[in-house]
Amino acid sequence: MQTFLYIIIGVVGGLLGGMGMGGGTLLIPFLTMFTGTEQHLAQAVNLIAFIPMSAFALFIHIKNKLVDFKYLLFISVPAVVAGVLASYLTKSVGGEELKKYFGVFLIVLGIYQLVTIAVNFIKKRRNLKKSLAKGRVETLIETSEENDLRKFHE
C-alpha cells in the first residue's frame, strides 16, 4: 500500500515537473504529509528522482539547440558551491523546523507564481484589445518588443 502511494505521489510530482512547473516543490510536501516521510529524506528523494528526467529532457533540448552554454560557468559554479554548503547546513536543522521553513518557501513561490500569471493575463488582454481595434485577432503576441514594434507601425 505504501509502495503504491509513493508511486502515485511520484507520478503527480512528475506530471507537474514534465509540464515545467517545478514538480518537486509539491512532491516533497506530499511525501511528508501523506506518507510520513521525514523532511530531509523527502528532499533527498526529490533531488534524486528528478535527475534521470532532467538528464533526458536536457538531452532532447540540446539536440533541438535550445540550450545556451554560455551561462554554465558563471551560474553553475557558484550555484554548486552554494548548493553543497546549503545541503550541509540542513543537517544541523531539525526535520520539523525544516518543514516549517519549507512551508514559508512554498507560500512565497506560490504568490510569485500567482503574480506572474496575473501580469501575463493582463498583458494578453491588452494585446487582444489592440488587435481587435485593428480588426485583427492575434492573441498569441506576448512580448513587449512586438508591442513596441506595433506601436511604431501605428
Binding site: 508511486i7 512547473m21 551560474i75
Partner: protein, 121 residues
C-alpha cells in the same frame, strides 16, 4: 561593461539558486527561469531549456551531500523515482493539450495552500 554586469548578476543569481536548491531540495528551476529570462534576457523557451542545464549539476551535488548525510531509503527513492519518470512523460504530453494558464493557477494555489498547512499545523 554591460557584459561584466551580466556576469555579476549571473554569479549572484547562481549563489542564491544553489543555496535554495540545496537547502530545500527543490525550487532551483523555478528561480533559474526568471533569472535567465528577466535578468539575462534569454528567450522563454531557451530559458526553460538552459535552466535544466544549470540545475542538473546542483541537484547532483546536493543529492550526494544528502546521501553522505545519511538520508537514503531505497524503497522510497526507487518507487517515487519510477512515479516521477512516468508522470514526467505524461506531463510533457499533457502540456500540449491542457491550458497552461489554468494548470499554472491551480498549481500556484496548491503551493500556497500546502505551504500554509505546513507552517500552521
Amino acid at each position: 561593461m554591460e557584459k561584466i554586469t551580466k556576469k555579476i548578476i549571473a554569479a549572484a543569481g547562481g549563489l542564491f539558486i544553489g543555496f535554495i536548491n540545496g537547502f530545500f531540495g527543490s525550487g532551483g528551476g523555478m528561480l533559474c527561469v526568471p533569472l535567465l529570462e528577466k535578468a539575462l534576457k534569454e528567450e522563454t523557451k531557451r530559458a526553460h531549456a538552459t535552466a535544466i542545464l544549470v540545475i542538473l549539476p546542483i541537484s547532483i551535488a546536493s543529492a550526494v551531500m544528502y546521501l553522505l548525510g545519511g538520508y537514503w531509503d531505497t524503497g522510497v527513492v526507487l518507487t517515487a523515482s519510477l512515479g516521477v519518470v512516468l508522470g514526467g512523460i505524461g506531463g510533457a504530453l499533457l502540456l500540449k493539450i491542457l491550458p497552461s494558464e489554468i494548470v499554472g493557477l491551480i498549481f500556484a494555489l496548491m503551493m500556497v495552500g500546502v505551504g500554509i498547512k505546513l507552517v500552521a499545523f
